[in-house]
């Protein structure tokens, strides 16, 4: 990294993997990861701003390239949501689009080489900056627990409070009072597994991706053939990572849509 100073491998990785934190209260729970917060706001504004701009400039005549691109995206998301949820998708499809664009933009930051970000932030005087918001467990869990809140809200709305509680206690085994506890256990596990797996899947993919970039960079520190090999492998991993980024955004969106659609179903 810096010429002249010896940095051990674990220091390099620890430096690149630590968040810029800010305490707003007592203890570890009340620390905010400022870098994830600021980066997610920036990528959110850019990503959603593109679509807002397209809406401002939309014409009903022959569309230009920008409007066609946005229309293709919208149709793709609309068809995906329509496959999963045949009912009224005036809320679900925009939610799916927002999730897809946000997650994709957050993941896209991972393609910027880590040392570029580190030297840029170092020049601005900030010494710890983890640039990818979706490699922060707080951000991914925030999104997946928001989806969880929607699941609960739509469960109540589609089945009624009494209906939903009845279903919690009597599905899937049956209505006999002996079966209430097993039913409740299974339903709670199923309900909790959804947001946890959603958040951790995105976090694991992005965190492991960043870490492999860093490890390949460390391999380049050994000099000579190792540096050449590390450049080639970093390029190869970056190309593979482009697929992973799009795939993970798509999976997050489709699973959120499927979970919310399932919340509308009656057993």
């Amino acid at each position: 990294m810096a010429s002249g100073s010896e940095i051990t491998p674990s220091e390099y990785i620890a430096h690149h993997l630590s968040n810029l934190t800010m305490k707003v209260g007592e203890g570890d729970f009340w620390t905010i990861n400022l870098d994830s917060l600021i980066m997610s706001v920036i990528v959110g504004v850019i990503g959603l701003g593109v679509f807002w701009l397209a809406a401002q400039r939309a014409t009903s005549g022959v569309p230009g390239r920008f409007q066609s691109f946005v229309e293709i995206m919208l149709e793709f998301i609309d068809n995906t949501v329509k496959d999963v949820f045949p009912g009224d998708r005036s809320f679900l499809a925009p939610l799916a689009l927002t999730i897809f664009v946000l997650v994709f933009m957050m993941n896209l930051v991972d393609l910027i080489p880590i040392d570029f970000v580190a030297t840029l932030m170092g020049a601005l005087g900030v010494h710890k900056w983890k640039a990818v918001p979706s490699s922060d467990l707080n951000v991914t869990f925030a999104m997946s627990f928001t989806v969880f809140a929607f699941i609960i809200y739509f469960s109540f709305k589609a089945k009624g409070v009494g209906g939903f509680l009845h279903e919690l206690f009597t599905a899937p085994f049956g209505a006999h009072p002996v079966l209430w506890i097993p039913n409740l256990a299974i339903n709670i596990i199923e309900l909790v597994a959804k947001p946890v797996s959603l958040g951790m899947r995105l976090f694991g993919n992005m965190y492991a991706g960043e870490l492999i970039f860093m490890l390949l960079g460390l391999l380049g520190m050994l000099g000579g053939a190792y540096t050449a090999g590390s450049i080639v492998l970093s390029w190869g991993w970056a190309v593979f990572h482009i697929l992973i980024i799009i795939l993970q955004a798509f999976i997050f969106m489709v699973l959120s849509t499927v979970y919310i659609a399932m919340a509308h179903e009656h057993h």
Binding site: A14, L17, R201, G204, A208, I251
Partner: protein, 88 residues
């Protein structure tokens, strides 16, 4: 003191290797089975290939999920080991 560190780190290295190795085993076998079924059904009904492809990518992401979560956790233990900081 140094011996505590050595013991924890030694077992940690083994643990990380097992997590990543066994996870990779499961993920690869899963993708192999899914891929073979996809190829079979693509050969039977080639007109369905675009739809099946969409589901195949979705399933690939789901199958890799537990493996990558394991890699994330294993790497976290490799570099910011909470077990070691408990000793300090």
């Amino acid at each position: 003191m140094a011996q505590f560190f050595a013991v924890v780190q030694g077992y940690m290295a083994l643990g990380i290797g097992l997590i990543i190795g066994l996870g990779a085993l499961g993920a690869c076998v899963g993708i192999g089975i899914m891929g073979s079924k996809f190829l079979e059904s693509a050969a039977r009904q080639p007109e369905l290939i675009p739809q099946l492809q969409k589901f195949m990518f979705l399933l690939a992401g789901l199958i890799d999920a537990a493996f990558l979560i394991g890699v994330g956790i294993a790497m976290f233990f490799g570099f910011a080991n909470p077990l070691l900081s408990a000793i300090k």
